[in-house]
Amino acid sequence: MTEQRHQVTVAVNGVARRAEVPARRLLADFLRADLGLTGTHLGCEHGVCGACTVLLDGAPVRSCLMFAVSADGHDVTTVEGCREPAGDLGPVQQAFLECHGLQCGFCTPGFITTITAYLEENPKPTEEEAREAIGGNLCRCTGYQNIVAAVLRAAELKREREAPHE
């Protein structure tokens, strides 16, 4: 038996990417194996840990719970796409560095994407809101305190970077 393959075109981090994949290929596996974008991680493959979170047309989705074929024609942003255009660390990434918001770094991509989307909605969160915002992602290393701090710092950095230059 040979599996039928389907053409999928997804704009990943602003670049149109095309591949032929079986219908059951997970979006996460498509990104990692077919496109070689290994920044997206799989921690549970059942939708709980959030490590695999990517942004689909700007909104966080769990790429372990979605088929690549369902992303056909959509925009996907991964952690690789959360950098500044020139390749420097984006505001959320920079905030994680400054606040020691990661240890092993395995859960981190899912936090980066989740927080990136969140700050678009709520650019000035309180500490409590920041904690709530990351309440759907698991981290086994950090105890979250520094990630909460990173959310607040990222909001600050984002505002600074987006402020019109004098």
Partner: protein, 792 residues
């Protein structure tokens, strides 16, 4: 002199790469490798009567199917017993693939290799294994009752029975003679390390070079290398093992070799193709290791001030179906139970029992959380019995600073005497009293009560043996570019060694941390190591880096003195700001990288540095070695003992019995701190796991031996919303064992959490006379306790 780096909260060097998404974890490698999947036992205890692979053979992309029958030579034999012990009289270890019998759900039975993981799983699903089921032994009660046996030939399900006494008299007599006596029966449930990244192995066989390269998500690449070489019959020099970026370990990845670490390399050699296996989350639950599960009986004798005269502890430890890692966990429980206290005459006996469940090996804390739970519950029970303040009872029993080094009279897990090297426990207790607000708490309680709320406070303290031997080593090299490369055999799973070890090397060589690159866990770069576990990496490897870098500095001075000429002696030189210079006349200097060029008498001018060096006289002479590099080892005489105390305030809902942590405070002493930011992070992470263990996490087996909560949906790891803000205060009592004064910090946060939370819950519930004897505790269990039902 350049500013020192040790002690500063520097940002981590490894982070930009990880943050960009450029990490290289196991599954990010070997994109074109074949994929392995496993058929694992769906039953807890059975004989395998048939394996039928017929239906799997026409699956597209299938490459190979292996059962135990296919395994040659030593691969067919049981896996090694890593840590034998004279008391471990009945050791059984698992096979790579089950040999006719399975002893827990999840045990590997068949290995399938296919062109991708989806197809490998398709094939695995079609393989029919017939099991003749045997009655399973699940839980400590059944193991103790021994009406059924896990291994037919092992009587009573007993793997080991061990007794230790501290040489301060007969504990039972001391208890009998004491003015007061209490007996406590306690229990702790199973939990597990649960790193976010599971295990994984990638193997590449170079048939021309006859070299095997294995990447594995391990805490010990050097030992995996020796294990693989032995099992596969290869000379160790033909095997390279690399731990790439590893997504957390917490103990489970120190076990080795896992069956897959043998099978995947063997398949790669056999097939002549790269093979990769990546554990999925369900596999991790049912086939990687668990920990914690224990029952304890404590008898204690004490006087009217709460001072202990005698303590006798009996422990029943669930070791799962096999004991490849020996009996380290119950040994740690029985020794570290003593904490910062003097207990009078002490006797501890443990029985390590087989059950038809996943193996039990160290998970962060490694038996200490259970020991601290026992000791601290005992302290609280004494206080309750005598009507004394709980902190006063603890203070009455503390070892005093002037009694250091203090010999507890036992043998520790490393086989060396349990001698505390340093510590100031009275100060530690004073600090936690202040930090958690112990003295003002009655007012706080009254204010809460006035609002109809009930709150309680608890404190628990621990001492943790860290930095055990036998050794670690490091190689330090100054490149001619001025880059310093530090290679060490320990592995890293997020502890920040790329930064902390760079800080130590930078100070020894007078350079910036930016000039130092650290390599860990790669046997191509450093072959002799033990591994990262037991809060030992920074102590052992850190001191080894200091030794190696110190040798490099000496050599640099020697070469620089010869090069500078004019009667300059090496002793007059110092390393600072990237140069070797005269202490009193800094203008007489030579760049460190130029010294690196001079250290190699091969004087071809490949680059500018080499050209610059040609102006100096040859500096390496007969008897010396070329290269500005050195290898150094640190071999601790014994462990060094860190300590800490946690204080917690909880609120319990009067109606629903919901439990909420209002305040969490940590006083922490890990000796000299290399990087406070990183230590703080370790503490936070440990506390979060401790809170998981106190309130949420438990591995649940049903009577048939099925692990019923093998997913993140059902095994409740705390999210950000369950972990409170953690307030920390640090104190430093430098280690008396190692030159840098370091103590380990990795496990600390998790150790006393269950004990502190139990104490606080009991305190909040004191009107209802709730007694907490078992952790974790859920709201429904607290609800039952309130009704006077025994919590079993």
């Amino acid at each position: 002199m350049s500013e020192k780096h040790v002690g500063r909260p520097l940002l981590r060097k490894e982070d930009p790469r990880l943050l960009r998404g450029d990490g290289r974890y196991l599954d990010d490698l070997g994109r074109h490798a074949l994929a392995a999947a496993f058929v694992r036992s769906p039953v807890a205890h059975a004989r395998i009567t048939d394996i039928d692979v017929g239906d799997a053979l026409d699956v597209e992309g299938l490459v190979a199917i292996y059962t135990h029958e296919d395994l040659p030579g030593r691969i067919a034999e049981p896996l090694p017993l890593l840590i034998p012990h004279p008391d471990l009289t009945h050791a059984r270890t698992p096979y790579c693939l089950a040999d006719g019998e399975v002893n827990h759900v999840g045990e590997a039975v068949v290995m399938v290799v296919a062109t991708d993981r989806y197809l490998a799983e398709d094939a695995a699903e079609r393989i029919q294994v017939t099991y003749q089921e045997l009655p399973p032994v699940v839980g400590i009660d059944q193991a103790r009752a021994a009406e059924r046996l896990v291994h037919d030939e092992i009587p009573g399900n007993v793997a080991a029975r061990s007794v230790q006494e501290n040489g301060k008299g007969d504990a039972h007599e001391a208890i009998a003679a004491a003015p007061h006596r209490l007996t406590l029966d306690l229990a702790i449930e199973r939990s597990a390390s649960m790193p976010m990244e599971g295990k994984g192995v990638l193997a590449h066989w170079d048939a021309d070079d006859r070299t095997l390269r294995v990447h594995t998500s391990t805490q010990t690449s050097t030992s995996v290398r020796l294990a693989v070489a032995a099992k596969l019959g290869l000379p160790p020099d033909r095997v390279e093992v690399i731990a790439p970026d590893v997504g957390g370990g917490f103990g489970v990845k120190i076990v080795h070799p896992w069956p897959e670490e043998i099978l995947v390399p063997w398949a790669a050699m056999t097939l002549g193709r790269d093979v990769k296996w990546v554990e999925d989350r369900r596999e991790h639950f049912i086939s990687s290791a668990h920990e914690r599960g224990q029952q304890q009986r404590i008898e204690v004798g004490f006087d009217g001030s709460g001072r202990l005269h005698g303590l006798s502890v009996e422990i029943w430890h669930d070791n799962g179906a096999y004991v490849p890692y020996g009996i380290i966990v119950p040994i740690v429980t029985s020794t570290q139970l003593l904490g910062p206290y003097k207990v009078g005459a002490y006797r501890v006996e443990f029985t390590s029992l087989y059950t038809n469940t996943v193996i039990v090996t160290p998970y962060r804390g490694a038996g200490r959380p259970q020991g601290v739970f026992a000791m601290e519950r005992t302290m609280d029970a004494i206080a309750e019995h005598l009507g004394l303040d709980r902190l006063a009872v603890r203070e009455a029993n503390l070892i005093r600073p002037e009694e250091m080094p203090y010999d507890q009279g036992l043998v520790f897990q490393d086989g060396r005497p349990l001698i505390y090297d340093s510590g100031d426990y009275p100060t530690m207790m004073r600090m936690i009293r202040d930090l958690v607000g112990w003295d003002g708490f009655e007012a706080e309680r009254a204010a809460a009560a006035a609002e109809g709320r009930r709150i309680g406070i608890g404190v628990a303290a621990y001492v943790e043996g860290t930095g055990m031997g036998p050794y670690e080593g490091a190689h330090v090299k100054v490149e001619t570019t001025g880059e310093i490369v530090v290679s060490t055999g320990i592995t890293t799973q997020g502890q920040g060694h790329y930064t902390t070890l760079a800080q130590i090397a930078a100070d020894a060589l007078g350079v910036g941390v930016g000039d130092v690159t650290v390599v860990t866990g790669d046997t191509r770069r450093f072959k002799y190591a033990v591994g990262t576990f037991a809060s030992r990496a920074i102590v052992t490897s850190g001191n080894a880096v200091a030794v190696a870098a110190g040798k490099v500095a000496e050599k640099a001075k020697r070469i620089a003195a010869a090069a500078l000429g004019g009667g300059v002696r090496a002793e007059e030189l110092e390393l600072a700001d990237g140069v070797v210079r005269h202490r009193d006349d800094p203008a007489r200097s030579i760049e460190l990288r130029t010294v690196a060029v001079l250290s190699n008498p091969l004087r071809y001018a490949f680059d500018e540095a080499a050209k610059a060096a040609t102006q100096f006289a040859a500096a390496v002479t007969a008897g010396d070695e070329p290269g500005l590099e050195a290898t150094g080892y640190y071999m601790p005489e014994r462990s060094t003992f860190a300590a800490g105390a946690h204080g917690v305030v909880v609120e319990t809902d009067p109606e629903t019995a919901d439990i909420k942590i209002l305040r969490y405070c940590v006083v922490h002493d890990c000796g000299v701190v290399v990087n406070p930011r990183i230590v703080e992070g370790q503490v936070h992470g440990g506390v979060a796991q401790g809170i998981g263990g106190a309130l949420y996490e438990r591995i649940v087996y049903d009577d048939a031996g099925q692990l019923v909560n093998a997913s993140y949906m059902d095994f409740l790891i705390p999210f950000a919303t369950e972990v409170p803000h953690i307030q920390t205060a640090h104190m430093v009592t430098a280690s008396g064992v190692n030159p840098l004064g370091l103590k380990g910090a990795g496990e600390a946060g998790v150790i006393p959490t269950s004990a502190a939370v139990a104490s606080a819950i009991e305190d909040a519930e004191r009107d209802r006379a709730v007694v907490v004897r078992r952790m974790p505790i859920s709201p429904s269990e607290l609800y039952e306790l309130r009704k006077g039902r025994v919590h079993v």
